[in-house]
Amino acid sequence: MKMQLVRRETASRVAMTGAPILALALACLASLILFSLLGKPAGTALYALLLKPFLSWYSFSEVLLKMAPLLLIAQGLAIGFRANVFNIGAEGQFIVGAVCASALPVYYPDGAFPLMLPAMIIAGAVGGMVYAMIAAGLRTRFGASEILVTLMLSLIAVQILNYLLLGPWKDPRGFNFPQSVMFPDNALLPLLFEGTRTNISLLFALGASVLAHLLMQNHFRGYQLRTAGLAPRAALYAGFSAPRMIWLSLALGGLAAGIAGASEVAGPLGQLQRSVPSGYGYAAIIVAYMGGLRPLGIVASSFLISVVYIGGDSATVTAGLPVAAVEVFQGFLLVFYLLTFTLIRHRVVFIAKTVT
């Protein structure tokens, strides 16, 4: 007898929603065991991680604040992932978006620039897009793996940011801290709810989700992208241009990450600073996969991961866990998701050994 995994013809709705829930349960169980083994109050930790964020309006609004960049970036990345274009350098595109958007308030610190905010968002979007398209160019022209190129570009983006913050863009009155001037009021995104830090970038992210859904489900281009991912040879025979899919995937991923970067400096940060690369670009990859690479699923998964982020902050206080507990939980979540997802998407078939 031999065991084999056979892919189901169609993924059932039960499987699509069941896998993340099962993964969440397993991740909770694994974390419970691990935290107890380390002698931490595991129950308190899980309570803080998953429920605390819902218990006050302020912490819930912080969840929404975190959710905006994660959702926006993940929607952009998922489009590429479904076409088998692996842009894993969203972190770099996010940084470049933040840098490009910051150029305006850095050079016009008095806010004397017409339409400051829209110009910043556009600058960020274009910056992120162009940065990602370097990888598309190298992939289509020279065959260089976009996985490695986008990753390398991310690491280079961190150095560009450091150079600017330690050199030409350092706030002259900033006591030598590696950060830019504080942005003027007209360079800051309007808040969504008074008394919180949640700003309208959440609306960008939700808007992007709707657009991503329309593109992937209703538009011919989305069909081409999905075909390129699921059946590259079929896409080839149908005459869908592979280079065009690569350009489009990376452009959209970079565009979304760039807008997210611009929103970060024009939102909670209010200046360009060293903490811009905070791992959203990498976490968004987890979010995209957790959401099954489906626009609607990603809305749910970005919310879940944001809850864990904010819950993690309170777990460090109430359960004495290091911040890393969030990473452990996220890691478990993705690993178990990949496990349950595949097991649900495939049937286990037992094949009797035949004599040949």
Binding site: F142, G143, S145, L151, I285, I286, Y289, V326, L338
Partner: protein, 290 residues
């Protein structure tokens, strides 16, 4: 110590974690898989090794434990990718995050403690050579063992049947399977080997190079090692040589700052990544999309 002597003495130690991790990943990639979670596996190895050395005082035990722990973590990747056919990029990034998190969780109570590193030892006769004898050729035992290990790896990959089988599995897994080679087992073993090498690399970073544990101490070395595999075009000698080049660059940053070179240090830090992109552009023609 002059700048040249500082560079000669320090390059090897800076290069060693890169070399070990990159050689491990090189074997993984030779069998046709890509594990992007090097950073996490190195971090876990570093934390486990430091805890082990601090508690027992034995470096040997620290290196062994680190190798085993990271190999075990790598098995998560193997299980997901080989067992249930999960996406490699997602699985390895999940593994990386998990490794980073676990290392910080385990190492938390060991932060700001110190242990002693390993003594440097010269080679007989060679250590008497002026300039390089007391610097480049005076290293700790792990360096000497690693260099022997790298030569051994080169021998296995290029001169033995096992090396050919690994190559066959990577270049055409269907054919390899048809001939009757256990493709799954070989891939699984290579992933474990890659993990163990990352563990050793992390152990060297946290118990010899800078004998202390701090969260985030791997500081991107896993990504550099990943770049190094490409830079070295999947050949043992070139990967090892590249490790010394990248190690020199990482020290070059310090040197440039010390002697006040006008070149921004960020440019020097970016050179390994730029060099890797350039290398990808030169060698990847056959991957062109149709």
């Amino acid at each position: 110590m002059s700048v040249v002597e500082f560079l000669l003495a320090g390059t090897v130690a800076a290069a060693l974690p890169l070399m070990l991790a990159a050689l491990g990943e090189m074997v993984v990639e030779k069998t046709g898989l890509v594990n992007l979670g090097l950073e996490g596996m190195m971090a876990l190895g570093a934390a486990i090794a430091f805890i082990c050395v601090y508690e027992t005082g034995s470096h040997t035990l620290g290196f062994v434990a680190a190798g085993l722990a990271s190999a075990l973590l790598a098995m998560v990747f193997a299980g997901l990718v080989l067992g249930v056919k999960a996406n490699e990029v997602a699985a390895s990034l999940g593994l990386g995050v998990l490794g980073l998190g676990l290392s910080a969780l385990f190492g938390k109570s060991y932060e700001s403690l110190t242990i002693t590193g390993l003594p440097k030892m010269g080679l007989p006769l060679l250590s008497d050579i002026p300039v390089i004898g007391g610097t480049l050729l005076t290293q700790d035992i792990v360096v000497w063992l690693s260099i022997i290990g790298a030569i051994l790896l080169w021998y296995v990959l290029t001169r033995t049947k096992l090396g050919l089988i690994i190559k066959a599995v990577g270049e055409n897994s269907d054919t390899a399977r048809a001939i009757g080679y256990p493709v799954g087992i070989i891939r699984c073993a290579s992933v474990a080997f890659g993990g163990a090498m990352c563990g050793l690399a992390g152990a060297y970073a946290s118990t010899v190079y800078t004998p202390l544990w701090a969260d985030g101490m791997i500081a991107g070395r896993g990504w550099i090692a990943l770049a190094l595999v490409v830079f070295g075009t999947w050949q043992t000698g070139r990967v090892a040589f590249g490790a010394f080049l990248f190690g020199l660059l990482s020290l070059g940053e310090l040197t440039a700052q010390a002697v006040g070179v006008a070149l921004p240090s960020q440019l020097l830090s970016s050179l390994p990544y730029l060099a890797t992109i350039l290398m990808l552009v030169v060698i990847s023609k056959r991957n062109l999309p149709q």
